[in-house]
Symmetry: C2
Subunit: 367 residues, 2 copies
Amino acid sequence: SQITPSVYEIAVLPGDGIGVEVMQACVALLEAAQRLDRGPQLKLTRYDAGAQHYAKHGEALPERTLDAARAAHAVLFGAMGWPDVRYPDGTEPIPQLDLRMALDLYAGVRPIRWFPGLPKVLTDERAAGIDFVLVREQTEGLFYARGKGSINEAGESYDTMQITRRGTDRVSRFAFKLAEQRKRRRGQANVTCVDKANVFTSMAFFRDVFNDAAKDFPGVSFDHAYVDAMALTMIKKPWTLDVMVTENMFGDILSDLAAGLIGGMGMAPSADVGDHHGLFQPAHGTAPDIAGQGKANPGAMFLSGAMMLDWLADRHDQPELEQRARTIEAALEAVLGSGAVRPMEYGGDAGTKAMTDAVIAALPQAA
Amino acid sequence: SQITPSVYEIAVLPGDGIGVEVMQACVALLEAAQRLDRGPQLKLTRYDAGAQHYAKHGEALPERTLDAARAAHAVLFGAMGWPDVRYPDGTEPIPQLDLRMALDLYAGVRPIRWFPGLPKVLTDERAAGIDFVLVREQTEGLFYARGKGSINEAGESYDTMQITRRGTDRVSRFAFKLAEQRKRRRGQANVTCVDKANVFTSMAFFRDVFNDAAKDFPGVSFDHAYVDAMALTMIKKPWTLDVMVTENMFGDILSDLAAGLIGGMGMAPSADVGDHHGLFQPAHGTAPDIAGQGKANPGAMFLSGAMMLDWLADRHDQPELEQRARTIEAALEAVLGSGAVRPMEYGGDAGTKAMTDAVIAALPQAA
Ligand SMILES: CC(C)[C@H](C(=O)O)[C@@H](O)C(=O)O
Ligand SMILES: CC(C)[C@H](C(=O)O)[C@@H](O)C(=O)O
């Protein structure tokens, strides 16, 4: 349904701290990968944004950058935020939240998959089978309150959570479509609605709207879990999970928990997608403690790049881009699985450059 | 400062499902323990409440039960809730939430400690050192919205989170006092404020009020964490955690996660306390899937009973009750640590009765 260009414009927003480092690594990897195949090329153009840009120039997300993000076929995003960089009102510049709203990126897709070479976190052997996707609603929920909270003279502060039929319906359908895709690959699929319907009106509404959407996907099973019970299930038997869909704040918490199951944020990619735009970023932050030292694990950024290729492939009907995504993933998995390269994050001695070089070197065999 | 009675009146609310089973076990244990020492006696009196009581009699928390809870020295609570038992408006009868409000039980104290005999969930050996306490604010936060949510004709639903200076101050001070107690035993103590101050006005307010309270506790260190980062820390290095204090909904999610670190809810006790009342209950629910089969692990209920004894001891200056709490804990630890008894929850064959008998038999040696 989309026009099929031969060059895809990618707006690259490295951001702050290790965002810059893992982005440099990812751009090198994407460019190396596209030299190896005959698929469409990505044109990767860097734009300024972030807390440090704000500190220097008074803008966290310049108009020029937002325009470029809007005009691009996709956005590749590093990480943004920096200690003590605050707006005059004390709040933090968080361009990633602004972009979710501005580009209507309603589905935060956060896949968690264990593969050999990743740390074994849980003692249960079945944890090797962890392979699930959390879909976080990203345009409403509790985050609706951002910038709207109040404090009164009686010392009471209020923030309001919003759940709409439209917002819940579209993110539920997104989760079911994702499950349908997974079913084609894996033979079965299930979507779990994660809420707190036993206590909150808005959460009972979320569940109702989810149930309505489910009717249009008879090929996919579904069930429900309370968010507290899901936090426990994620530790007790995460290998039983498939696709989950949940409210914004709950998704924020559960996705960090989920990353913990594969050793931390270093291998947790994410895609923020809507009907018109897609932004791809590692789930980690700017890691001020290790920034500038070449120690960051670029794995999550690489996997985010692969998610971008998959999304472009699907959207523009370009199977070669999907193939390229598989090549990148396979190269990363081969490098980690062989044990030749162990990221510093997991106690090894491979920094950003060593990992990047190794994955790029593994591309030809992986292709 | 309290009158020192020689008999303590305990309102016992077994509730539904396995609540009834673990309560029977706990009452037997408490009565056996008090026969062995010369400390003050507990008079344990059962009262009706719960979803099944509602289904039969139209009331989930009868006035008589609420009065008894108010008049008692402490409340011992099993678990309440039952599938498909709903009020006419579709919401669930949840007497434990009503009691938190009615008795102003603002601090939900949820300790998590690993000891030999519990499942090893994390591969890291340091997980044997897990010993922290989550303090959940229980009278406001997002739960303030319970029963107040709205849905409008445009298909928008709203629930409002409330954070007050008074509510945050008292629960922060509670956490610092708890940390002071732990410092006396362990030599050091830290309180972590868990919030989302980077995004929400109310959460930034929570952090500010916490920081103000901290000034009155110079002997205890403190720090801050965003709730998503804390979910990750709980998996990556839970042995570094000490006392945490957080908003109601965040505490609900994090406490289930925390229980997962020691194998599930079966050994996770909790205390709901305020300035005038205390209610003690296992963190688990009514477990309809195993209810009535004698399979439930009474461990969390036993530990909740011990927390009640500790609270009474402290409040009424009765060291013998504290000693009794230690005896119960020691007996439970001895039984599990010896491996003689392995709860069904952990794949063993010991049901409720076998565990109860073993712990009661171990009391004399533990004393
Ligand atoms: C940076 C922060 C505001 C953001 C969020 O809470 O959404 C991050 O934690 C995430 O998960 O993308
Ligand atoms: C039963 C439920 C409403 C309750 C809560 O959410 O507080 C429970 O999960 C808890 O943690 O005590």
